[in-house]
């Protein structure tokens, strides 16, 4: 079954926000088994990006980064939207981030597992964490990766149509209304 159609059909049966375990399990079943060939990242870097992005947007009652293919979206986004200069700077940031990560974990970056990456992200992304001047570039890379992950998450069809408040044809405009009444506390997807 076409995953996109499946999700679209299911989406209409539920509220704009509610995502039940049934939806999630069906979502998982429909996942394609084909492996993705990254365009911007090397295959080994992409493996690491996958783990980092899943830590940033983990699976909860709503699918996480890997299920939603946010790493694939981001890889392709960097390659097709950013100019060479920006891609180059991002690559430099990634190198610095990897070096810093190895130092924090005491392991080679290829040996690091999810909990090792969690320690690194915790250092660079949790508020209140002390970051020395020498670590600024690594921390700034982590923050950029987080922005990219959120962008991918919010541009995702499943999230946009089934999790966020989705109104393709609102029909009316009200300037100042109660948040809970308007969307039940969610952001608009469009």
């Amino acid at each position: 079954m076409d995953r996109r159609k499946a999700l679209k059909n299911i989406g209409t049966g539920f509220g704009a926000i509610a995502v039940t375990p049934t939806v999630v399990s069906l979502f998982q079943r429909c996942q394609s088994a084909a492996t993705y060939a990254p365009v911007y990242f090397s295959p080994s870097d992409f493996e690491k990006i996958l783990q980092l992005m899943e830590l940033i947007i983990p699976a909860t009652d709503i699918p996480g980064a890997i299920e939603l293919k946010l790493p694939e979206f981001t890889d392709s986004y960097i390659a097709s939207v950013w100019d060479e200069d920006r891609q180059g700077k991002f690559a430099e940031g990634w190198k610095v981030f990897l070096t810093a990560s190895a130092a924090i974990s005491g392991k080679g970056v290829d040996q690091m597992n999810a909990s090792d990456w969690d320690v690194v992200l915790s250092k660079y992304l949790k508020p209140g964490s002390e970051i020395s001047g020498a670590e600024n570039d690594a921390a700034s890379f982590a923050s950029q990766l987080r922005s990219l992950t959120v962008n991918a998450f919010k541009t995702n069809e499943f999230i946009g149509e089934n999790v966020l408040a989705y109104a393709p044809i609102p029909g009316e405009q009200r300037g100042c209304v109660d948040l809970m009444e308007a969307t039940g506390g969610k952001a608009w997807s469009l």
């Binding site: 992304l125 949790k126 995702n156 609102p170 009200r174 952001a187």
Partner: protein
């Protein structure tokens, strides 16, 4: 193919559409020429229902697009995936820049009426009298009273939503019900009214139907999808394609010919009139001549001016109507990209419904007499902007770091932010000009346009005030993180290029007369932005449409009197 018509209209954007409608409705057999492809209402709007996730990387500008639409991408918004097909290919349509000039345009039926910003404001006598009072350039040959009935007529036909606020520098008009302010905008409105005697905030006046219907192809009320630049399936915003061209079509008097590049207006030196136009078929390269009693150039400022420059004859060696040497000079725009933005922690339990494709407006409050007069600059500016909360997530959400809690927070609307961006008047300077480069021809063998123009001291001084006043108003409203900005601006970025065949009272100093006729060739009318004698500080399309309707009426009267 019929080659004889009563009237020829060159261009199908906001002015071409209006000329076509008026001339056809008044019974003239009219040939409407468009250099680009056909775009049929709805049928040829391929992206109208696309969501961001229907594109591989979202609705963004890609590297592939930048390769062929590099200049068209300079705005940062014109060539996203959902809009890029309505802007030209820069490789196929090159131009030259002695100084940077951002020239955004679309070659297709409907032109920029499909992608315009839709903000619709009237000029006033503060504008029409400004050059005379300031001793700048030349006097406008018309005043507000000449245009007011035509503003009224055009607004009524196209549908403009907005609010009458009774300010002399921001005249009341013929408006449909206004859109609503968001909570933070409402707060800023109260604060400005409390803190200032000289200014107020109102909702933008936009050419979008908010109640009832309008003539055309099933034009009805806005559904608040905010996808205007793609063409509207409801015909809610005004475009030639949904409104004026169908009206012209309905009369049976219109012949619309796409792929028709007008290379020149042909001059008959015996009759001292134009006899017709020469057209290159953009697909076959074949050349045709079409004849008519009256010709309306509505191709937008730069192309209309180029056509006149290319229309060389023994009588007009420097281009038709150019005995004043003003053709191509005095190019203006509105300078923007300066203002301030801020955030607020208030209204956390408030939101909005519908995507309002319209902003707020703070009308001009400088140089309109008494204490408003400034020492450092002439003329004025208005602000456009808005307050919303959906987009930003970083400030509050970043505290969650990352992970499950962070993810949950990302799904909520971010904090409120509000911005005010200035739109300032650019003065007409003779040495701000466009010329034709015959050493660099396009693929049809026509000369390319070279721009050599920039803003000067008056605009730079105005920008300081634009930033400062925006900061002050946001601070006075008690907003947080107030930051002023003055970004990268080059002429053209406002997409309001104008002034290159100005109206005036004297053929020695202007190209057009008070009826938009070329002084020396009265059966040629130029009614697009080229006609502007000064820029004013408001979005100009409504004025172009009013000038066009007025000129078309004049042309028909003159034809009846056998004067043309």
């Amino acid at each position: 193919m019929d080659t004889n018509y009563d009237a020829i209209v060159v261009g199908t954007g906001v002015t071409g559409g209006w000329a076509a409608k008026e001339l056809c409705e008044k019974g003239l057999k009219t040939l409407v020429l468009e250099r680009g492809r056909m775009v049929k209402h709805i049928e040829d709007y391929p992206t109208i229902n696309d969501d961001p996730w229907d594109y591989k990387s979202g609705d963004v500008i890609t590297n592939e697009t930048r390769k062929i639409q590099g200049k068209q991408s300079r705005t940062g918004y014109t060539t996203t995936e959902s809009r890029k097909h309505f802007f030209v290919n820069d490789i196929e349509h090159p131009y030259n820049e002695t100084q940077r000039f951002d020239w955004m345009r679309g070659y297709h039926v409907g032109g920029r009426s499909l992608t315009w910003g839709r903000q619709s404001y009237r000029l006033t006598d503060f504008d029409f009298e400004a050059n005379l009072k300031d001793g700048v350039a030349i006097d406008w040959p018309i005043r507000y009273k000449d245009l007011a009935p035509w503003y009224n007529y055009v607004e009524g036909y196209i549908g403009v939503s907005g609010q009458n606020v009774g300010l002399p520098q921001f005249p009341d008009g013929n408006y449909l019900k206004p859109m609503e302010l968001t909570c933070v905008e409402d707060h800023l409105q109260s604060s400005i009214s409390k803190n200032y005697q000289d200014r107020l905030l109102t909702i933008g006046r936009t050419a979008i139907i908010t109640e009832g219907t309008k003539p055309g192809l099933g034009r009805m009320s806005c559904q608040y999808r905010s996808r205007c630049m793609r063409g509207c399936p409801f015909g809610a915003y005004f475009s030639s394609n949904s409104s004026t061209l169908p009206a012209a079509e309905k009369t049976g008097n219109m012949t619309l010919r796409p792929y028709s590049i007008v290379s020149e207006v042909i001059y008959d030196s015996d009759k001292k009139r134009a006899s017709g136009v020469r057209v290159i078929d953009s697909q076959t390269n074949e050349v045709y001549e079409f004849n008519a009693k009256v010709i309306f150039l509505c191709a937008s400022a730069v192309p209309s001016t180029s056509i006149l420059m290319q229309s060389k004859s023994d009588y007009f060696p420097n281009g038709m109507g150019n005995s004043s040497d003003q053709l191509g000079r005095n190019i203006m725009d509105h300078h923007l990209g300066v203002g301030a933005f801020a955030t607020t922690d208030d209204f956390q339990d408030k939101f909005y419904t519908g995507r309002r494709n319209n902003g707020i407006y703070i009308p001009r409050f400088r140089n309109i007499g008494g204490s408003t007069d400034q020492k450092d600059f002439l003329r004025g500016y208005g602000y456009q902007g808005g307050g919303s909360r959906n987009q930003s997530w970083t400030s509050k959400v970043a505290e969650m770091g990352y992970g499950a809690e962070f993810k949950n927070e990302v799904l909520k609307p971010g904090g409120w932010s509000i911005g005010l961006g200035g739109f300032g008047e650019v003065l007409p300077y003779e040495d701000n000009r466009m010329t034709l480069n015959y050493d660099k021809l396009d693929k049809w063998g026509l000369p390319t346009v070279t721009f050599d123009a920039s803003i000067k001291e008056n605009e730079r001084n105005m920008r300081k005030d634009m930033q400062q006043q925006a900061v002050e108003m946001l601070e006075n409203a008690g907003f947080k993180d107030v930051k002023g900005y003055d970004g990268d601006y080059a002429l053209g970025l406002g997409i309001h290029e104008m002034g290159t065949a100005r109206m005036g009272r004297d053929r020695k100093t202007s190209v057009l007369n008070k009826n938009n006729q070329i002084h020396d060739v009265p059966n040629v009318y130029v009614t697009d932005g080229a006609a502007m004698t000064s820029a004013g500080n408001v979005n100009p399309s409504l004025t172009y449409m009013a000038l066009t309707a007025r000129a078309a009426n004049h042309a028909v009267e003159e034809l009846k009197k056998m004067n043309l």
